[in-house]
């Protein structure tokens, strides 16, 4: 099966949360739980001052866009594309070609600013999983997860360093699951 990746979906402006809700319902009702995973409306907390009073508000980072983590199969594409309020995918020529996913660093930038991670720790990672290190001094190496610190969002992985098994520490943003 294809790897799941993050895509940017165009929605009606001002209706991002409504679209997210509808897409989650459709993913469940159409049995697409193995193809459509997390759906994010990028938001940030801002402080607004009105009449001398400061108030915390939630502001959408990209009005008219949501992020969808999915496997880009024909069926999943159809489900997303036909969700009420969805007007298209970013990175698609619109002539039947599948859209282009976001680059990992782009996803990291957006999710990290929301206190989230590209890798879904609870569902995607387990001790014993094979991973590839994609950033940092050990970039390009493969390893096996020895332990996961969910709170600090780091993993300890065993890699082969100069012929010896060595444990190294990596941030979640530095790894991806090996195929």
């Amino acid at each position: 099966m294809e790897e799941k990746q993050w895509y940017v979906v165009n929605t009606y402006s001002g209706h991002e949360n409504k679209v997210k809700e509808k897409l989650e319902m459709r993913a469940n009702s159409m049995d697409m739980k193995d193809y459509i995973f997390r759906i994010i409306v990028p938001e940030e907390k801002v402080i607004e001052e009105k009449n001398g009073v400061e108030k915390e508000k939630i502001k959408k980072l990209f009005p008219g866009y949501i992020l969808v983590e999915m496997v880009m199969s024909d069926e999943a594409w159809f489900v997303v594309r036909n969700t009420p309020g969805v007007t298209g995918f970013i990175g698609s020529s619109g002539k039947g070609a599948k859209p282009t996913p976001l680059q990992p660093y782009e996803v990291d930038n957006i999710l990290n600013s929301m206190g989230m991670n590209r890798i879904d720790i609870k569902n995607d990672l387990a001790v014993g999983d094979q991973i590839k290190i994609v950033d940092g001094p050990f970039s390009g190496m493969f390893g096996k997860i020895e332990s996961i610190d969910e709170e600090q969002k780091i993993v300890n992985a065993i890699v082969d360093l100069f012929g010896q098994e060595t444990t190294i520490e990596c941030e979640l943003s530095q790894i991806k699951k090996a195929a």
């Binding site: 009606y12 402006s13 001002g14 991002e16 949360n17 009420p84 309020g85 007007t87 619109g94 002539k95």
Partner: protein
Amino acid sequence: MSRVSVDYFELEKLRRNAIIGSGMETICYQYDKEHVLKLFRFLLANRKIYFEGLTSPNIAFPIDIYEYRETGLIQGILAQRFYGNNLKNGFKEELDIKTLLDAYNEIRKELINYSDIKIMDINSENVLFDKKNKSFRLIETTNWVPSFLSTDANLKKLDDLLMQTICFYNLGIDENFLFTNPYILEIYNRWFNGYDIKDNEIFPEFLSEIQSVARHELGKVKTIGELRRK
């Protein structure tokens, strides 16, 4: 209507013209007062441009196609220049609702004639409203392709864009909006939940209903700006 063959230096000279705008695929240069030159950012061997030479008072079909002399790859197109505001931030407040609906009917009538064309790239940057001539203008046609039975799909794209522009940018209707009128809510829900493709009177119906309610309950309403303030 012709194929214009250019070399590297001729192309560079054209690129020194004033840039009017740019999108993901093209950069739009001023050619003269009546025309623009759209050059592609990326050259694709299999790129095809259709509808060269079609003329329309409201749609910027390709007039000439520019090709790179050495390879024959399509570099860009010459098209008619239209003036107007795009719909990115809604319609201007003083816009008369009747004018808007008349312009809408005019462009719809034209699109109905093009039943063998699939229109693409209908978005708030590629649709202009020419307030002086009271017309909609469609300015990006390089991705339009031949296709049969696409009239309803074409019209739905335009309806969708106009509904979204009016609802969100002009009336401030978003997912938290509280509708007090059941008829307007019904039309709105029909639109949001994906109406039957043949039911393509959503936009004028919505606008007319809002205007009629506002006129009846709050006095005469003529412009988009007045609708919002009500």
